[in-house]
């Protein structure tokens, strides 16, 4: 299967601190790749390097076969990279519908041209995530799980080819997690490739086709979820060395 995204030897340095060190991985078209690692490992930094929010100090990010180093964030969205934010970024003063409409107006290949069309699309995506009944409410009036849904709908409205999800399940209960898993699977069914950062182990296990583990900014392991999660190094990274 062709890779839709490829990271080659990517490094990110912040003054003295090396946040990401020589990481290489790829996301195949149509797959769900899980990205896990202990807190502070650099997962969000890696996502930022892909979405264009940050520029790598070294290495190349390749999207659909073309290197995109130096391409600004808004243009990456036009190319087909969409993302959600861990610390959510709604447009607070706008309605839920308008929030998603922005995604429909802009986004892949420039987006819809007319507001009416964008609103129609927005309704569709709100229904997809189960938020349509709140379309007229102000975004800042939403509760936690609904905000996550909105974040997802906004990203989907951009019609991305690759979707980057940053901890969409944090703070959700079991039922809500199951719902989100179902939605993500629906997204993949639409033909969208997904890179998911997650802490909720059960969820990432059942969702991902493959897993990669980042620890201290470096690639620790990659492979099928079963293999990776039983890998001794991964266990040690999360739980610490067993004292005998």
């Amino acid at each position: 299967m062709a890779a839709i995204l490829e990271a080659q030897k990517v490094t990110k340095r912040f003054h003295g601190l090396v946040a990401i060190n020589d990481v290489s991985f790829s996301v195949d078209k149509g797959e769900i790749l899980g990205l896990i690692g202990p807190n502070g490992a650099g997962k969000t930094t890696l996502i930022n390097l892909v979405s264009g929010t940050l520029a790598p100090t070294a290495g190349t990010v390749i999207f659909e076969g073309t290197p995109i180093n130096g391409v600004p964030a808004y243009h990456r969205s036009r190319l087909g990279i969409g993302r959600t934010f861990q610390i959510m970024r709604p447009f607070p003063g706008l309605t839920v519908l308008d929030n998603v409409a922005v995604g429909a107006l802009f986004g892949t290949a420039g987006g819809a041209r007319k507001l009416a069309e964008a609103e129609t699309q927005a309704h569709r995506w709100l229904a997809f995530v189960g938020l349509d009944k709140r379309a007229g409410q102000r975004a800042d009036a939403l509760g936690g799980p609904d905000r996550k849904r909105l974040e997802l709908a906004k990203a989907l409205a951009q019609r991305p080819k690759l979707l980057l999800l940053d901890e969409v399940m944090a703070g959700l209960n079991h039922v809500e997690i199951e719902e989100v898993i179902a939605v993500i699977k629906k997204v993949r069914a639409e033909g969208i490739s997904i890179l998911v950062i997650e802490h909720v182990m059960k969820a990432i296990q059942s969702l991902s086709d493959r897993l990669i583990v980042i620890h201290h900014g470096e690639m620790l392991a990659e492979g099928k979820p079963q293999e990776v999660l039983t890998d001794a190094r991964v266990v040690e990274a999360y739980l610490g060395r067993r004292r005998s």
């Binding site: 993302r83 607070p92 802009f106 507001l115």
Partner: protein
């Protein structure tokens, strides 16, 4: 009320206002012209400040460039008014693109201070230019008939408001609003923030410059202090903010209401107009910081407690 209906009502109002010179006294026509010009300034500011969220304190530069374009064109180059106006617009656009680009990278109060600094710099530069008449300024040929200026200002206000109405329902406008609400999120969602900001700035520069040009020709006299009147910046912001920034008609209503009250007070006690603005600003920021629009909306729910709530939310 849907925008379509609002615009229809506005069109009727414009038609009504257009008849003013035929039944109003000279004083009223003059007051009307001033108010209309101020409304244009507030409405233009609305584009960059209200919709895009970049509170510019330097729109007086566009106003002055428009005025000097007309003055230099007509007095030094002996062009007709329209050519002078075109010069003013060209100068304003050049400024908006060249200076706007670096300055629009700044956020929040840094952007405000930078634009204020630019206003001071431009005033100082122009007061050193020979062709602009230095400190003394320029005097333009007198044109009889306030009616022309009144109708011209009215037409300009209508055009500016139509532009804002278009913005409010267009993809471009949504891009601006997205920038205002969360610039980082807008960027990753595909909004070319730099381009949009500069275009908004340029659009507002055009309308502001035309207003400056009309005003200069009307007053027939121009010097750096009056052309680049820095106090104008805050006045246009206050009118826009209390009318309702980011709305189509808010700034216009704000300009009309504040101008009218100022005029009434000025006729009662002449020197009071200057202090009026100050006192009103202070009271308004304390009791209705979110503008008339919000006041009207929330007053229905909370009544007099609305004012108390504002203080409790913003005070210590």
């Amino acid at each position: 009320m849907r925008l379509g209906y609002q615009l229809a009502i506005a069109a009727v109002a414009v038609a009504a206002l257009a008849t003013l010179p035929s039944w109003g006294s000279a004083v009223i026509v003059q007051f009307g012209t001033s108010a209309l010009i101020l409304a244009v300034l507030a409405q233009s500011w609305n584009i960059i400040g209200g919709y895009t969220g970049y509170a510019s304190f330097g729109n007086s530069v566009f106003y002055g460039l428009g005025g000097y374009g007309v003055a230099i064109g007509m007095v030094q180059l002996h062009w007709p008014f329209a050519a002078g106006l075109a010069l003013g617009i060209a100068l304003a656009l050049a400024f908006a693109f060249l200076i706007g680009l670096p300055v629009l990278r700044l956020r929040g109060h840094y952007f405000a201070i930078a634009t204020l600094g630019l206003a001071v710099v431009m005033t100082a530069i122009v007061s050193n230019l020979e062709i602009a008449g230095r400190n003394i300024g320029l005097i333009m040929p007198l044109v009889k008939g306030d009616t022309w200026f009144y109708e011209g200002s009215l037409a300009l206000l209508a055009a500016t408001t139509l532009a804002v109405a278009w913005i409010s329902r267009s993809r471009f406008g949504f891009g601006l609003i997205a920038i205002r609400e969360n610039e980082g999120a807008a960027a990753v969602m595909g909004v070319n923030t730099t381009l949009n900001k500069v275009l908004a700035f340029a659009l507002c520069s055009v309308f502001t410059a035309i207003a400056g040009g009309i005003h200069a020709y009307w007053i027939t006299f121009l010097d750096p202090e009056s052309a680049f009147d820095i106090g104008l910046n805050v006045r246009m912001i206050i009118m826009a903010v209390f009318g309702g920034p980011g709305t189509v008609f808010g700034p216009v209503l704000g300009a009309f209401v504040l101008s009218a009250i100022s005029e009434v007070l000025a006729s009662k006690v002449t020197s009071l107009a200057s202090i009026f603005f100050g006192v009103v600003i202070v009271i308004a920021v304390i009791f209705m910081p979110r503008g008339f629009a919000d006041l009207v909306r929330r007053f229905r729910q909370s009544g007099w407690r609305y004012f108390q709530e504002n203080i409790r939310a913003h005070g210590v």
